[in-house]
């Protein structure tokens, strides 16, 4: 169906930031996914090829980048739950409070993940 004008979210405030955050994190994760498939497929070149790739990616800089990845996956996943909730007809009127609550929930697995990763970042 052809459209006559763009449909980019026209709002203001926290809901707008949630919308753009969802898009940016989504694009980031999609780019990571394609890279991830290529990295794992080093196994086609043999087990030692795969092990070398895994060893290379244990460098502190990559573990640090993985913390960014964990953060954007948690933001996208939990905000995605918020979008599905709205589409089912729940919570639209409390959208700001729901966004804040979900981001606070995201902090729990992030902090645990960060605690696990910290020794590898400082190594």
């Amino acid at each position: 169906m052809p459209l006559t004008k763009h449909t980019v979210y026209p709002g203001r405030g926290l809901g707008m930031w949630a919308f753009w955050l969802h898009r940016l994190t989504g694009l980031g994760i999609a780019g990571y996914l394609l890279m991830h498939i290529l990295v794992i497929s080093t196994v086609v070149g043999g087990a030692s090829n795969f092990n070398e790739a895994m060893k290379f990616l244990k460098a502190p800089i990559f573990v640090l980048l993985e913390m960014g990845l964990l953060a954007i996956i948690l933001i996208h996943g939990l905000n995605g739950l918020r979008i599905v909730l709205f589409d089912l007809g729940y919570g639209v009127k409390k959208q700001k409070a729901i966004f804040i609550a979900l981001m606070l929930i995201a902090l729990i697995p992030f902090v645990i993940g960060f605690a696990i990763a910290l020794p590898h970042i400082l190594a």
Binding site: M1, L3, G26, L27, V43, I73, D87, I112, G113
Partner: protein, 118 residues
């Protein structure tokens, strides 16, 4: 226009984006937990992955995850691009390009996974 309006990407693509979203929360959550929060799995190497792949369930979860994530991710890219590409012939071309990218990465990824089955 609210986020609940199932246009312009098509009603089925819109529904499938939600269905895959909910499935991904479960499957990707499991994937991340098993690989990065369980201490004995954290040193990722060929033998460890091959050991996990002896489980049929794990194999189904992982190849399912490959398909789900690629569909959700590339359809999401399509949704974003559709806000900037309005002409229907260009949208069709874009959809075909993303479909080819998705199928190519699924084929290559699934092929690579078979190397872990020993």
């Amino acid at each position: 226009m609210t986020s609940t309006t199932p246009q312009p990407q098509g009603v089925w693509a819109w529904i499938m984006q939600r269905v895959t979203a909910v499935l991904l929360i479960f499957f990707l959550g499991t994937h991340l937990f098993v690989l990065h929060y369980v201490p004995e799995n954290m040193n990722i190497n060929f033998l460890g992955v091959a050991a996990r792949f002896k489980s049929v369930l794990y194999l189904i979860v992982d190849s399912g995850l490959l398909a789900l994530a690629l569909y959700h991710g590339l359809n999401g890219v399509r949704n974003v691009l559709f806000d900037f590409v309005v002409a229907s012939d260009k949208r069709r071309a874009l959809t075909i390009v993303l479909l080819i990218v998705g199928l190519a990465f699924f084929g290559w990824g699934a092929y690579a996974l078979t190397f872990f089955i020993k």
